[in-house]
């Protein structure tokens, strides 16, 4: 990398670091898909109420019977009036505790407006019943945390999935995703909500964080946890990228048809997660004149993707194709057909008969030939196999 590129990289890294410090804050978001954004134009102090002797059920009386997340379970004026003498305050009397409109509805002046600003409190997109949890003696704090230092409760007091999983471990309580998450007709989790897309985020207790570059890193996990992936995704979702036909615009950068050889040279395994070398890559390479086994009319005439023929094929040396092939044979089979290699590596070739097998191959050839000798017989005669001790 030249000096200029190093400088550019350094500046980008510094900018990112500086921006990170600038943005640093303590708040952590819950999923907007699960808990949509709220607007609660209220003044309230949970800590003060608990300190005054109230318990949760004093105000949230309906919770014990609530069987759906659509229930708000918030106290109305009638519950507040148990302690707050709203009627007296409306007559201009001084009350303790305070009971004027402004005590709970900041900036609300009943002489100017008819009603205070409304709460925007969408229900959680979950399958949830307070009743069952309370019947099982689950403490409010187990899910909502310690409220003694909380003023106005917001989304931050709603449980994160890691909290749920402390009990929902398939032993104490069911651990299946659809125990709590909503599903669509297919039985898979519903992912699209008007408030956002359900997507595992940072801190996901299953280690499924679908963060940046997840397109490139999910393979390891998907290979061993397909059942987990299929809780949300149908085969058609995977095939949107893995069917080797469509260009996934979020994966391949611009101009990828021109630039893909560069990435393929270093990481052909990534290509192979969607493309078979012989049935996809080689065919297209033959069409554009890169592959040398193509029909005569399609053969390359000005391609210069290898060193000169003598260095690459004829003379043993550090730039001989055998070294590259040994390190990454995918590069060869992405453009060439077996015939290319057989022209010099087959015992039946009139040109050369260079042994392509690794050291010690003769010790295992009998076992391999017994399992499948079809490939052997592409390059060897039956008599030759027997002579080499491979029969």
């Amino acid at each position: 990398m030249d000096r200029q590129s190093q400088n550019v990289l350094g500046i980008i890294a510094l900018t990112l670091a500086a921006a990170g410090v600038a943005w640093a804050a303590s708040g952590r978001e819950r999923s907007l898909a699960i808990f949509p954004a709220q607007n609660i134009p209220l003044r309230f102090d949970h800590g003060l109420h608990l300190e005054s002797g109230a318990d949760c059920a004093t105000c949230h009386e309906s919770v014990s019977k609530s069987e759906t997340s659509k229930d708000r379970n918030l106290p109305g004026h009638e519950q507040c009036e148990t302690c707050h003498d709203i009627e007296a305050a409306q007559k201009g009397k001084k009350t303790d505790p305070p009971a004027s409109c402004g005590a709970c509805h900041p900036s609300f002046d009943p002489t100017v407006r008819k009603e205070p600003a409304k709460l925007d409190l969408p229900h959680a997109n979950l399958r949830f019943t307070h009743k069952v949890h309370l019947d099982k003696k689950v403490e409010c704090t187990a899910c909502h945390g310690d409220m003694t230092k909380v003023t106005l409760a917001t989304r931050q007091q709603l449980p994160k999935m890691a909290t749920c999983l402390e009990c929902h471990d398939d032993k104490l309580a069911p651990g299946a995703c659809k125990t709590c998450h909503l599903t669509d007709g297919s039985g898979r989790l519903q992912l699209n909500f008007s408030s956002g897309i359900l997507r595992p985020m940072q801190g996901d207790p299953f280690g499924l964080d679908h963060g940046p570059r997840f397109e490139f890193t999910h393979g390891s996990r998907a290979a061993v946890s397909r059942q987990v992936c299929s809780q949300c995704h149908a085969d058609s979702y995977c095939q949107k990228c893995h069917d080797s036909m469509q260009k996934p615009l979020s994966v391949h950068p611009n101009d990828f048809i021109t630039l893909h050889p560069v990435q393929a040279r270093t990481d052909a395994a990534r290509c192979e997660s969607c493309h078979r070398l012989q049935s996809f890559c080689a065919a297209c390479h033959e069409r554009v004149g890169v592959g040398m086994d193509a029909d005569q009319s399609l053969r390359p005439r000005n391609a210069k993707v290898h060193p000169d023929y003598a260095t690459w094929v004829q003379n043993p040396g550090p730039q001989h194709h055998g070294i590259v092939a040994s390190k990454d044979i995918r590069q060869c089979s992405a453009c060439h057909r077996e015939e290319t290699c057989m022209s010099c590596h087959s015992e039946l070739s009139a040109r050369q008969q260079v042994n392509p097998h690794p050291s010690g191959f003769s010790n295992v050839c009998k076992k391999l030939a017994a399992a499948n000798d079809r490939a052997c017989l592409k390059c060897h005669l039956e008599s030759s196999l027997a002579q080499k001790g491979c029969r």
């Binding site: 270093t266 029909d295 990454d328 044979i329 592409k378």
Partner: protein, 478 residues
């Protein structure tokens, strides 16, 4: 075979498949008083651009090959065909045509049809308790491979956390009926029919043969935090072993937020690990760190001569740290190093040249740094990746941004990318490549969306090129 004949044959296949799917659905849906849910999915993708080919007599004598491809996906899904029962059906059919590829040219190429119809999957599924069964064409993904087969898969997981899975059928290969080669064993052509017609020596008529595949797994689900599977798979072609593998998958997800994932795949023909991967990830409120070690070996059919060549695996180590100070912004940095092994026959005169001056390096190192940002509806991401060593050096800068407008009625996305590449192996691809992409999409209804993508690239190789993509997505519940 003329273009018209091929097109008619493909369309005929597609029509038959659609008719069969429709009939199947109708029969399945005939259950009276059913709470069945039906879903159709359709996706249309059209591409138009040109590819610079190497057929010219000089580098300046450019031959441009047109790509005018249209791909149509049709999906039919049905669920809960019997009220209260997890009985369903899922199918996806793909039809495509490349109007930029003349049929005469396609006939000279193995595996590049100018039009075709592929049934990607079509299976009936039933599940009850810990039992699950799938019958039909289905995808199968595990640590060993990604494949598709026509057959039956049965899975049972007991309430004690142990289970078993068995599957068997015919591997879906390009030469099959309404079949795509996308998941077939690699290392051989999808068919040698063209070469057989021309009496070319070495053409293999077994490539078109039916290929049975079967396997089984012992399963563990959340046993003291461990989940995993121990599996075996074998595939035969013409009565001879094509692939034989054993796989071990393991996952641990307990403790101080550590979740480990491991996968290992043994090639039984040579009794050596073919693929291996080990990942450990620690997730915390403000950060996550992960380490991953991988071994990659090409997965070739034993019918391919390359399976017996002196090639070696690549090992890779990846370290990554993510930091998310607030919900709207997060950063990550990733480092990776690859080691390319070699397997040169020690008796070969090349053995001494592997590490000689001028030989390709055995390592490739690099990393990525990036950030993503979400605020309100706006989202953006920046990624900078650099790698050097085996395969040359490459620097990629990728900036994306997207904004849904009017609750997603319209969505605008943009992407700017810069690549600076230098590979002595391929001097034609050297320099700085710029690209810009603009994506505009509009929802036609809650179920349908139409998108247009324009891409403009400027670079020293093709100088300037423009690409256009059109997409139409439909997903509707009936």
């Amino acid at each position: 075979m003329s273009f018209l004949d091929r097109a008619q044959r493909s369309m005929g296949r597609a029509a038959h498949a659609t008719w069969a799917l429709g009939l199947g659905l109708a029969l399945l849906a005939a259950e009276p008083a059913s709470a069945a849910a039906f879903q159709i999915e359709a996706r249309t993708e059209a591409q138009a651009y040109q590819i610079r080919a190497w057929r010219g007599t000089t580098p300046d004598d450019v031959v441009l090959l047109p790509r005018r491809r249209i791909v149509q996906y049709l999906g039919l899904n049905a669920f809960e065909l019997v009220t209260g029962q997890d009985l369903g059906f899922e199918a996806s059919l793909r039809i495509f045509a490349d109007f930029g590829l003349p049929s005469g040219e396609a006939e000279k190429l193995d595996g590049l049809p100018s039009e075709d119809a592929d049934l990607m999957y079509a299976y009936a599924r039933y599940a009850t308790g810990g039992f699950e069964g799938q019958l039909g064409r289905q995808l199968y993904i595990d640590s060993m491979d990604v494949m598709a087969f026509d057959g039956l898969r049965l899975r049972y997981m007991s309430r004690f956390g142990v289970g078993v899975e068995a599957y068997g059928g015919l591997w879906v290969k390009g030469a099959g009926l309404l079949a795509s080669p996308v998941y077939q064993p690699d290392g051989t052509r999808e068919s040698d029919s063209r070469r057989l017609e021309q009496n070319i020596a070495g053409a293999d008529d077994s490539l078109d043969s039916l290929q049975p595949v079967y396997g089984a797994k012992l399963l563990a689900g959340n046993l003291k935090g461990f989940s995993g599977a121990l599996g075996y798979r074998k595939s035969l072609l013409g009565g001879k072993t094509d692939l034989e593998r054993a796989g071990l998958e393991l996952r641990y997800a307990r403790g101080l937020g550590v979740s480990g994932v491991a996968g290992l795949d043994f090639d039984l023909l040579q009794m050596k690990p073919a693929q291996a991967r080990l990942q450990v990830r620690l997730d915390r409120e403000l950060y996550a760190v992960s380490a991953e070690a991988l071994r990659f070996t090409p997965v070739f059919s034993t019918n391919s001569i390359w399976y017996y060549f002196a090639y070696a695996p690549r090992d890779e180590v990846r370290l990554r740290a993510d930091y998310y100070p607030v919900g709207s912004l997060r950063y990550y940095v990733q480092a990776l190093g690859s080691l390319y092994h070699d397997n040169i026959n020690r008796a070969s005169s090349l053995a001494d040249d592997v590490d000689a001056e001028g030989a390709p390096p055995s390592t490739n190192v690099g990393g990525s740094v990036g950030a993503s940002f979400r605020r309100g509806n706006f989202r953006s991401a920046l990624d900078v990746t650099y790698r050097t060593g085996f395969g040359g050096s490459q620097l990629w800068v990728d900036l994306t941004g997207g904004l849904p407008i009017n609750e997603g009625l319209i969505e605008l996305d943009g992407r700017l990318s810069v690549a600076q590449v230098d590979d002595a192996f391929n001097p034609q691809l050297r320099g700085t490549f710029f690209g810009a992409q603009l994506w505009a999409s509009r929802a036609l209804s809650r179920a349908a969306r139409i998108s247009l993508v324009l891409e403009q690239n400027v670079n020293p190789f093709s100088r300037s090129d423009t690409k256009a993509f059109f997409l139409f997505d439909l997903k509707a519940n009936l």
